[in-house]
Structure formats: C-alpha cells, structure tokens
C-alpha cells in the first residue's frame, strides 16, 4: 500500500484503477474483516466444516450406510440426560456417539458425511448463479434499450414463478426423463454424471436455474451505474471491443457487491438443498444429507428426538457460519454501509 494511494483515495484523486490500488482495496477489506470477531468465528467454523468434509473417512470411522438392525434407535447414556422423555424405553449402546438411526446406521458418521453435500451446494450454488446472472445482467445492462427491456421482462416473468415449485418441477423432469434413455446420448451422459455425484448435479442445476435472476438484476443495476463513466468512454474511443469492455473494464469494478450478495445468498442455497432432501427430491439415498436426516428423524420426533435435532443443529451451525461471514464481508466491502457501523 503506497502512501500516495492512501492520500489520494479520500481526496478522490485516484481515478485511474491501477492494479496496485485494487490490491490495497482488497487488503483494506480483509483488514476490516479480520477485526470483525463474528466474521472470523464464522470463517473458522466454515474451515472446520471443510476439513471435516474432506477428512470424513478419518473422522467417522463407522460406515454411514451399514445398517445394523439390532441397533435400531439405540442411544448412548448422555443423550438420555438431554432428552429425559426417552428414559422409559430407550435402548442403550455406547457404540454410537450420537445414537443410531431407525435402521441402525451411525448418526455421527451420517452427520459428518452430510457436511459434504451442504458444503458442495454452498460453493457450487453461488458459482452457477454468479456465472449465469453476471453474463445475463451485464449483457442486459450494457446494451440497454430494447435488449435490456426484453431481457428484464423475461426475468420478471421468471420471478413470478414460485421458485421452490419450479425447482421441484425441474427435478421431476430431469430425474424421470433421464431414467429411460438410450446410452450414448448427451442426456444419458448427464444422468450418469448425476448418478456418479449421488444425485447432486441436478440439484445444482435446479438451484442455479432459479437463483440467477436476483444476481442478473443486481448486475444490471451495477452495470447501468458504471456504463456512462469516463473510463468506459475512453475504452470505447480507443476501439476496445464490447466483450473486452464488459469483462475487463466493467466487471472488476462491480464484482465487490456481487460477491457480497452471493455470500449472503449461500445460507439460502444450503436451506434449499436441505429442503429438497427433506421432501425426498434431494440426493440419492443412502448418501447422507442433513435435510433427509431431519425428515427421517421428524417421523419419530416424539420417541427419538435426537434423530431429528442433531442434524438440524448441524444445519443451523453451518448456516450461522455463512451468515456471520457474509455479514462481515458486506460490512468490510460494501462502501455504502461504511459509517453505519
């Protein structure tokens, strides 16, 4: 960070976006982020969760899908003190740290492996919606006029779709139309790909296809605000092609708010996946997903509350962490909110 930059910024003299200045802005943001204790906590939890997901086979020694029917619904003793209503009928087994589920699978292993699904959604969901939304929004905002009008009307119409119902419809379409296909066709390959991912691929497609609209609107607004600036005009006069202006000159200048918005949207994606798994449209069993575990546990919530409440807590902690981080990022990067802190 050079001295000139520090002086120039508040005076509004640094109109030329040099690489150095951008770096210092990022550094500035990171410095503010590190000072925010909640954000650091969120970030640490996310790191832990990532490690847990990567090293799941080492942490969860028991298999997540081996059914030991004699151990159905067994719980360790400490759970009885947490849920005293279970005392009269609960069967004790210390082999399962969080108990066994209704077919005798280790809950702990399933929760550890479940982190893989939620975290993949947390990272791929924003990626898909960012790519579609940014491309769509920048084209719309950059060209303006009739193109903008038509493209934004399309987004308006899609907005009127109840998004969860749309995802359900799309998932039903993908899942069943891909089930009887001739081998070799592209659709067949897609469905094989989905199978190899345990059914996650179509969830991403479903989430991506409904989540980009917000991002497109935001991008368009940002592009509109920056399109008439002098440095864009300068780029035009030296004959830079449209694509170059869009992605080289405009995009880097609007990326901040987009990243913040996308980080804040992550808990929503996680909740959507959990919800889809909850209603049985999520990943293919026996791949564990927190949503599916909550749904299975909710069936026996009165007798075995641990089976629903532990995965629910795991889901809540993950969403907390992403919310903390997203909030911190917004405060650190979004200049409009500086000063309100």
């Amino acid at each position: 960070m050079s001295q000139v930059d520090q002086i120039a910024k508040p005076l509004g003299l640094g109109g030329i976006p040099t690489l150095k200045k951008r770096e210092s802005l990022v550094k500035d943001g990171i410095r503010r982020l590190v000072k925010n204790r909640a954000a650091v906590l969120g970030f640490s939890i996310i790191l832990l969760l990532i490690l847990m997901a990567i090293f799941a086979p080492l942490i969860a020694i028991k298999s997540f899908d081996t059914q030991v029917l004699v151990d159905q619904n067994k719980v360790p003793t400490w759970i009885l003190s947490l849920f005293p209503t279970m005392k009269p009928y609960a069967q004790i087994s210390s082999a399962y740290p969080l108990g066994a589920d209704y077919v005798g699978r280790d809950m702990f292993s399933r929760i550890v492996y479940g982190a893989r699904i939620s975290l993949t959604v947390a990272f791929i969901g924003p990626f898909i919606s960012l790519i579609i939304g940014v491309i769509y929004g920048s084209i719309s905002g950059y060209f303006g006029g009739r193109v903008d009008n038509i493209m934004m009307r399309i987004v308006d119409v899609l907005y009127a779709f109840p998004s969860l119902l749309f995802i359900i419809l799309l998932l039903a379409f993908f899942r069943s139309s891909m089930s009887h296909l001739s081998p070799g066709s592209p659709a067949y390959l897609l469905s094989k790909f989905d199978e190899s991912l345990g059914g996650m691929f179509f969830i991403f497609v479903g989430i991506g296809l409904t989540a980009w609209e917000t991002m497109a609107r935001l991008t368009r607004g940002q592009v509109l605000s920056i399109r008439e600036k002098e440095f864009i005009e300068a780029a035009h006069t030296i004959g830079a092609p449209n694509l170059r202006i869009m992605f080289r000159h405009i995009l880097p200048n609007i990326l901040g708010p987009l990243v913040v918005a996308e980080t804040l949207a992550i808990p929503g994606y996680i909740a959507t996946e959990a919800f889809l798994s909850f209603i049985g449209l999520g990943v293919n069993p026996p791949t564990p997903s927190w949503g599916a575990m909550i749904s299975e546990g909710a069936n026996s919530i009165r007798s075995y509350p641990n089976q629903a409440i532990f995965p629910a807590l795991a889901l809540a902690i993950t969403m907390f962490a992403f919310n903390f981080l997203g909030d911190g990022l917004r405060d650190a990067l979004d200049p409009r909110l500086r000063g309100t802190q």
Partner: protein, 351 residues
C-alpha cells in the same frame, strides 16, 4: 394511478399466461402420464380414460381449453350442476344468466374431487398459516429493527442483531422439529400436530372463531415459519432507519423543536418503512410457499402435500392449479406493494 393499475393488471395476465405455458410444457415433457402404473392398465381402459380427460387431444388444444376454462368467464343460462367437470370457483347469478368463472378441472388422482375442492378445503388453512407467519414476522421484526437503530452500537443493537442472525440461520426444517419436541413433547404446552380452524371461514379464509383452540395450534408453526422473515425485516428496518435519521429533514424537524417521539414516528419511521414495504411482497410469497414444509412438519392439512404429490402423480390439473395460484399470489403481492409504495412516498408517480 388508475391507468397504471390497469396497465399492471394487463401485464399480470401476460405473466400468468407465460407461467402457464412454461408449466404446461414442462409438465407434459416429464415422461409418464397420470395413468401410468407399475402394472400397465389395459390399452382400452387407458384409451377411455384419456378420452374422458381429453388427454388425447393435441397439446395446443388441451392448453387452449384449459386457459378457456380457467381465465375466461362463461355466460350461460344453465344453472351449475354437480358434475365434477362443471365445478367453477365463481358462480354469479344475474337475472336469468349465470356467470361462471375459473374451472380448474378435476383431479386425476382423487377421482371424486376437483382442483377447486382442494382450493376450498385446503387453501384457507395455508392462507391462515401464511398470514399468521407474516404477522409474526412483522411484529417481531419491526420493533427489533427500530430498537437496534435507535440504540445504535449499544447492547440493545447487538442483542437485536444477534437475534436476527439466529433467525435467518434457522430455517423451518430446523426450528420445526425442535419446537415440536420442546413445546409439544417435553413440556406439553402446545399440541405438536393439527390445526384448529374449521370451515366455514369468513371471507373464504378467516377462521370463524379466534379462540385458544385456533392459537394453540397456530403458534408453533407460524413462529417457526415467520422467524426467518422477521430477521430479514429487522435488518432492513434497522439499516433503513439509520439512513433516514441522517437526512436533513430530520435535522430540520428537530431544529424546529419537535418532540423526539414525533420526529421518530411521524418523520423518520414513515420514510424508513419504504424499503421494508417493498420486501413484504416477495416475503409474503416466500412465506406462503414456505407453508408447505411447515405443514409437513406440523401435520397441518393445508395445500402443502399437493405440491409434491401432484408432480410425482402427474396430476396435470393440480400441478397447473397450484403453480398458477401461487404465481397469481406473487404478482398481486407485488402490485399491492407498488401501490402502498406510492402512498408512502408521494414523490413516486406512476404514469
């Protein structure tokens, strides 16, 4: 303003038509029909069934017929019959003529019911739940946001914002089971499942008596559903109010010696509500669609189960009916928001 509303209503019809085309196309693109079974029906039976529900018509004809039945009011002299194919949501008699509107068709799965029956029996319950959740979210969210903003950077602010971050982090599938266990099973304060309101409903959806019987069933699901939304409202209220109290006209109001309470309620609050109102539309829509998870967890006999089952059963009229219904909800909610917007901020003019 009147012109603007008319234009918006026309635009609404276009949106609904596009939504219906996309849904219709997608739903017929899913392989398998409503009468596909593991053990296939005899070809002759299938033919009769398809004939009866007009499924062997070309797609464009099926679509045009559907839209004609649903959107276009029919004027006839024959009184409505009890036939399932003849069940309209709106039947108005003027003199000798009947105006009949919104025939959403029969349900393929439950042969003795129509989509309108589902709307009549189950929709009011979902609407009650959605409205209660909205009330919960506004009545928790706004005071929390106002408190946080007025006492900015104090312990109250931090408490308020911590509560709201908890709110956005616990979706209803997390909060639901916890509520059921804590208040329904362990403490036995509230019934863990069921719904207290019974038909007939006032205005089509309001329960006829708002006693403990209704609330004891409604409290848990509406709090579980509304808490997340209340967090969003709280944060938005706080941010917006913080911005408003920095405006010049607030300083002017203070300078002319107005009581602080008047400054806040009359000047700051009204203006800071504008962004909050804009989010109520989408929020209400999200709450209404969110009702179906809540209904699954709390065993509430609302529309919820039809969303998923209609798609897996390929029950075409129910799929179309539910999606169109919710699309209409969304569009109307947004229209109402825009009108309220104009009322709150006279600078906004729609022409």
């Amino acid at each position: 303003m009147g012109r603007y509303i008319i234009r918006r209503l026309l635009y609404m019809v276009v949106v609904i038509l596009v939504v219906s085309i996309i849904t219709f196309g997608l739903m017929h693109a899913i392989p398998g029909g409503p009468f596909s079974r593991e053990k296939a029906l005899p070809a002759a039976t299938l033919l009769i069934l398809e004939e009866r529900y007009h499924l062997n018509d070309p797609y464009w004809k099926q679509y045009v017929d559907y839209i004609n039945n649903v959107l276009v009011p029919h004027i006839t002299t024959t009184p409505p019959s009890t036939a399932l194919a003849d069940d309209c949501l709106v039947n108005v008699k003027i003199g000798k003529v009947w105006i009949r509107w919104m025939n959403f068709g029969p349900s393929f799965k439950s042969r003795s019911r129509t989509v309108n029956d589902i709307f009549r029996d189950n929709l009011p319950i979902s609407a009650q739940l959605g409205t209660m959740a909205l009330l919960v979210s506004v009545s928790i969210g706004m005071p929390l946001g106002i408190m946080a903003a007025l006492k900015q950077n104090t312990i109250w602010d931090y408490i308020g914002m911590s509560i709201s971050i908890i709110g956005v982090s616990v979706p209803v599938i997390v909060l639901g089971p916890i509520f059921v266990w804590v208040f329904g099973v362990a403490l036995k304060w509230l019934p863990p499942t069921g719904w207290g309101a019974q038909p007939p409903y006032i205005l089509g959806f309001l329960p006829s008596s708002l006693g403990w019987d209704f609330f004891k069933h409604a409290i848990m699901p509406s709090v579980a559903l509304g808490l997340g939304a209340s967090a969003i409202i709280a944060r938005l209220t706080r941010a917006s109010l913080l911005q408003t109290v920095r405006e010049d006209y607030i300083r002017t109001a203070r300078a002319k010696g107005l009581h602080e309470r008047v400054v806040i309620t009359r000047h700051a609050l009204k203006n800071s509500l504008i962004p909050v109102v804009t989010i109520l539309g989408p929020l209400f829509a999200a709450l209404v669609t969110g009702t179906f998870v809540t209904e699954l967890i709390f065993g509430i006999p609302g529309m919820g189960k039809y969303f998923v089952t209609s798609i897996t059963n390929r029950d075409y009229p129910v799929i179309m009916g539910t999606i169109l219904l919710y699309a209409v909800f969304l569009v109307i909610a947004n229209l109402v928001v825009d009108i309220v917007y104009a009322y709150l901020d006279p600078r906004i003019r729609y022409d």
